[in-house]
């Protein structure tokens, strides 16, 4: 087991390094030049060259990448002379357009995105798995059909529709939360209710679409597992129907759901661009979107992209480890 874990961690580290290199390679070939963009209207080749040097773009992409990696562990200086700025480790770059260390920007955006992702995740898991189990238990009855209707609505409503509808009714029609409260950060530690109520609707909008898929997935997994031979054995032992479902069926049925759930959660941690935009949440998604749309803020884009990829890799690792805990057949071999 220990060998398995250490091997998986090592592989994940290699993948992370490769991802960051790939990100640098990709951005190196993008058809725009940050040095030119940061120059303004009256531009001379000298100024561009100076900018390029200050931005650290006057060297090969792999040297830029190496400096980036160094910065993560050692911190890094940006600019020079009087304009020298130091970002402490872990430094992910310096945003010259926002005049801030990228780490600081990430530090502001991350709690928002994490709040959004965790709440939505819990909500859709509870909703999806519960509904899935119920419709499997009462399959082909009106309860099952009702949940199918929910699934259809959920999957066919993209977040930019459901989010806007929620915004329209919750904020504008019924005033359940104040429009001014949108996007305000309430710490879950000092103001749990404020945190909860400001995130509830974004959660719901995200959870709806995911829960629909999870309902369907849980339903089919539960039905499939309940026809397994070991379920018949459980009944032959005299296990009650309730326990057959909640103990014998659900654990194997939910194991594969864990895999997708982990990856979906990681994907959300990278930033829910649409939902954050609709509900004015200053999270990673909005940070990325602004960096791309407004100012080609390369250090921010590199950092958020790498971070999003890192979340997926880490989630993959955690899912595999959790799966090993759940399924003894994987644990041993």
């Amino acid at each position: 087991m220990l060998k398995y874990v250490s091997r998986r961690i090592a592989i994940s580290l290699v993948i992370l390094v490769l991802i960051s290199a790939t990100v640098f390679l990709i951005f190196n070939y993008l058809p725009f030049d940050p040095a030119r963009l940061s120059c303004g209207k009256h531009c001379t080749p000298e100024i561009i060259a100076g900018n390029r040097h200050r931005l650290g773009l006057d060297v090969n992409w792999w040297i830029q990448w190496w400096r980036f990696l160094q910065g993560i562990f050692l911190g890094r200086n940006y600019g020079e002379g009087a304009a020298l700025i130091h970002c402490g480790a872990p430094a992910f770059g310096y945003s010259f357009t926002q005049h801030a260390c990228v780490t600081t920007l990430l530090g502001q955006a991350l709690p928002v995105t994490v709040s959004l992702a965790i709440g939505a995740f819990i909500m859709w898991l509870l909703l999806g798995v519960t509904l899935g189990v119920i419709s499997a238990r009462f399959r082909n009855t009106w309860i099952d059909r009702l949940s199918t209707v929910f699934v259809l609505i959920g999957t066919s409503l993209p977040t930019f529709i459901s989010g806007l509808l929620l915004l329209l009714f919750v904020v504008l029609k019924f005033n359940l939360i104040s429009p001014l409260d949108l996007g305000t950060w309430h710490s879950p530690l000092t103001d749990p209710w404020g945190w909860f109520s400001s995130y509830f609707w974004p959660w719901l909008s995200l959870a709806l679409i995911y829960a629909a898929t999870y309902t369907r997935f849980t339903r089919s997994n539960v039905i499939e597992t309940s026809s397994e031979d070991f379920i018949r054995t459980a009944r032959a032992k005299g296990v009650s129907e309730r326990k057959v479902l909640w103990k014998h069926t659900l654990r194997p049925a939910l194991a594969p759901i864990l895999t997708i759930a982990g990856l979906d959660f990681a994907g959300l941690l990278g930033g829910a661009i649409i939902t954050e935009q609709i509900f004015q949440l200053p999270g990673l998604g909005r940070l990325t979107l602004q960096a791309v749309l407004q100012d080609y803020d390369l250090p921010v884009i590199v950092a958020t992209t790498t971070l999003a990829a890192a979340f997926v890799v880490i989630a993959n690792l955690l899912v595999d480890l959790a799966y090993a805990l759940l399924d003894p057949r994987i644990r041993i071999s």
């Binding site: 070991f230 018949r232 054995t233 009944r235 032959a236 032992k237 129907e241 399924d327 057949r329 041993i332």
Partner: protein, 337 residues
């Protein structure tokens, strides 16, 4: 030997769009304590379906069931078909237990062998998990699993095929049931292991004085292990007799065919196996005739084509030996030899 199980007129049918599949028709038999009844037949003959129905393990939503199954258990007699689900559930695993064909897929992959046996004990007894585990180790010891205390904490995939079936037997017997249904318990096992598992079943039967219903299509297993045999064809018992009567004085053409189709070591010439020609009939809308008639080489010997006109009843051919055939016993005996 005291009476343990009475099955009277058991019908099991599955309604489908094409019509009702009659998997078991008017099944009658009884079983005593300490006795082994083998139910023999090819796939789809209704042997498994009827046993699952006795255990109450059939799919209730999709099965139409009628008749009587009376279990004379340790706490008095009980009719199972009309009993509530909850009543039958309490009997399952306690008064009657079942083991299945494939022990790998029949054991839960996520729980240790010991935990699964302990669960079977804890359902029907007051006691902690620790007591259950202790009992599980005792049972694993009894079915001759080496270093049971250690292996109880292992998972099914760490056991060999034979050991898994032993563990299944341990689980089935943990509450000392009076009825054990073994549904092809050796089919999925290596031939060398089959004999050991059968021997174990036989030892356990003596130890617990159980009635055993052994479902199989392996006539070798039947000869070694069974006291009585029910031969089933297309949902009906076509012949029932003591094991020796059945083997040496078969009274139904189907049984004769089955016995002839066993490969024999002493036939060293390149003799082709005597297979029964044709295939079993569909169980939907069976005609009012002998179900075996289309495949029966003796059907033409019955006058007035009765075999295709009406259904033969299960009639006594000899004492304690019944067969569902129009041919008189003496005629069958002639044809058999």
């Amino acid at each position: 030997m005291s009476n343990l199980l009475d099955v009277k007129g058991l019908n099991v049918a599955f309604p489908t769009i094409d019509g009702e599949v009659r998997a078991s028709v008017d099944l009658n038999f009884e079983l005593n304590r300490g006795e082994t009844l083998a139910i023999v037949g090819e796939s789809g003959s209704g042997k498994s379906v009827s046993s699952l129905a006795i255990m109450g393990l059939h799919n209730r939503a999709r099965t139409v069931i009628s008749g009587e199954v009376i279990l004379h258990g340790s706490k008095g007699s009980m009719e199972l078909i009309s009993a509530s689900d909850e009543t039958v559930r309490r009997l399952r695993g306690k008064e009657m237990a079942m083991i299945f064909q494939d022990p790998m897929s029949s054991l839960h992959p996520y729980y240790s062998i010991g935990a699964q046996i302990a669960e079977a004990w804890m359902i029907h007894n007051e006691g902690s998990k620790k007591d259950g585990m202790k009992r599980a180790i005792e049972m694993l010891d009894l079915v001759e699993i080496p270093s049971a205390a250690k292996r109880a904490h292992e998972f099914p995939h760490q056991f060999s095929g034979g050991m898994r079936q032993r563990a299944m037997i341990a689980m089935a017997l943990v509450n000392n049931p009076s009825l054990l249904i073994a549904d092809e318990p050796t089919t999925a096992l290596d031939v060398t292991v089959q004999a050991q598992v059968l021997q174990l079943l036989q030892d356990m039967q003596k130890e617990f004085n159980m009635g055993v219903i052994l479902i199989t299509h392996d006539l070798g297993v039947v000869a070694e292990f069974a006291d009585r045999v029910n031969v089933m064809y297309a949902g009906k018992i076509v012949e029932t007799a003591g094991v020796e009567d059945l083997y040496y004085r078969s009274m139904h053409p189907y049984t004769i065919g089955l016995l002839r189709s066993i490969p024999r070591v002493d036939q060293i010439d390149n003799h082709r196996l005597d297979a029964i020609k044709g295939a079993p009939p569909s169980l939907i809308n069976l005609p009012m005739a002998c179900s075996f008639a289309p495949r029966c080489e003796y059907a033409s010997m019955v006058p007035e084509s009765r075999c295709t006109q009406s259904q033969p009843e299960l009639e006594a051919k000899e004492s304690n030996h019944f067969a569902r055939c129009f041919l008189p016993a003496e005629r069958i005996a002639e044809l058999r030899s």
